[in-house]
């Protein structure tokens, strides 16, 4: 049986752990609110962009020579994966979910004989994937590390992807990230960036308020599309990063809440054990004294 001194030390240590986890939970909650606002604020831009793209795609449908960013290279041999994770851990299954999904995807693609390249965003994903697929990783992109995601981070990555495509370094590009469904649940999601997948609803539907009139384009469709597509890529990546940043805080909050609760339970259990042991010790000592006295 553990001695009283040992038990006392355990209780103190669990108590300070609890203080840390509950502080982390508080911090995550505050950051979550900001990250969520940020993610929501970015929606209108992405929505408007999707609407414009849909309109353009509809008016250019059936034409040849659409930009590569939209149609891809026409092949399906080299896959570029961009898993988005956080820089820090202690967020429950947040990072490992994305990591596991990525690993599955890589194995699946390799089994089909495809070539896979990985461009991991965030330290946790890069570290995990480096253990198994070190030779597939092109470069590690730093994650947000709990701060707000600047748009420049996404636009840099977007330009990088555009350049790689122009150089013919891959055929299909997919982002794997945690979609923020609620504070409690983040879903690892595949989002294919190239070739571009336009929702049927976006492509067919005329913009709200436009009474079927034909759009005019200035300078012309091709130039607009050539400018809009790289921008769209950046915006999509930005949206994924923001979702992931919000999800990270949500996951951390939930994980830390659980940890705090568990620590509380552990303290109760340990305190009870401590009291029992203390009482047993006293009883023992008393019995020794009494039996000593009666022997005399």
């Amino acid at each position: 049986m553990a001695s009283l001194k040992e038990l006392r030390a355990r209780i103190t240590s669990v108590k300070s752990t609890k203080k840390i986890t509950s502080a982390m939970k508080m911090v995550a909650a505050a950051k979550l609110r900001r990250a969520q606002l940020h993610a929501e604020a970015a929606h209108p831009y992405a929505d408007a962009m999707r609407r414009m793209l849909g309109e353009l795609a509809a008016s250019m449908a059936g034409q040849d020579g659409l930009p590569r960013l939209m149609t891809g290279t026409g092949r399906d041999q080299v896959h570029l994966l961009i898993p988005v994770t956080s820089d820090r851990g202690l967020a429950g299954g947040f990072n490992s979910n994305v990591n596991r999904t990525t690993r599955q995807t890589v194995r699946h693609l390799q089994a089909e004989g495809k070539i896979v390249k990985i461009l991991p965003v965030g330290r946790k994903g890069a570290d995990f994937l480096a253990r198994e697929f070190a030779d597939l990783i092109i470069e590690r992109i730093p994650g947000s590390s709990g701060k707000e995601v600047p748009f420049s981070a996404a636009s840099d990555l977007g330009s990088r992807v555009t350049k790689m495509l122009a150089a013919g370094e891959f055929d299909v590009c997919t982002v794997i990230y945690n979609r923020f469904r609620s504070v409690m649940s983040q879903v690892p999601t595949h989002m294919q960036l190239i070739p571009l997948e336009l929702d049927e609803a976006d492509a067919g539907q005329p913009a709200a308020g436009a009474d079927q009139a034909q759009y005019e384009f200035e300078p012309d469709e091709e130039k607009l599309l050539a400018r809009l597509l790289p921008r769209n890529l950046q915006v999509q990546i930005y949206a994924a990063m923001l979702d992931s940043a919000a999800g990270e805080q949500g996951a951390r909050m939930t994980a830390m809440d659980n940890a705090t609760r568990n620590a509380g339970k552990a303290i109760d259990r340990l305190s009870q054990k401590y009291n029992r042991t203390r009482q047993a010790n006293i009883t023992n000592e008393l019995m020794e004294i009494i039996s000593g006295a009666s022997a005399v």
Partner: protein, 136 residues
């Protein structure tokens, strides 16, 4: 009948309100969005968007390039970045212009596309400085 004018940057919505006219810097010349304008999409260069109510300008925003989507009832401006003209920092913009100028010198020999992007950015920053100087 007013039109709905929206200026949206990737980070947030800056303006969303009704106005009588919005003049914006199209890549091929300034263009005004008014009620019942034919649906139109255009590329914007760096410049100032002026929002009119009646004949007076109520708001002026500097946009560093982007896109605009006009319909008879609505005008959505997707700006790469946008700032109210009154908040432009001329010193800041000048510093950025210098940075771009030196970047251009370095890449003088590299690919034409990059040079073109840099020149585009420089023009946008110059427009920002002009807009800033005109107000201060």
């Amino acid at each position: 009948m007013p039109i709905r004018v929206e200026i949206i940057s990737p980070e947030k919505v800056l303006v969303s309100r009704d106005a009588d006219m919005a003049v914006m810097p199209g890549e091929e010349g300034d263009i005004a969005a008014m009620p019942d304008h034919a649906p139109m999409m255009l590329i914007l260069r760096g410049g100032v968007v002026s929002i009119y109510e009646g004949d007076t300008v109520t708001d002026r925003y500097f946009v560093a390039g982007g896109f605009a989507d006009m319909t008879p009832t609505r005008c959505t401006i997707l700006a790469d970045s946008a700032t109210p003209v009154s908040e432009i920092s001329v010193d800041d913009a000048t510093a950025r212009l210098e940075e771009l100028t030196s970047a251009l010198d370095f890449s003088a020999t590299s690919d034409a596309e990059q040079v073109e992007t840099l020149i585009g950015k420089m023009q946008s920053v110059r427009a920002e400085i002009d807009a800033g100087l005109a107000t201060h």
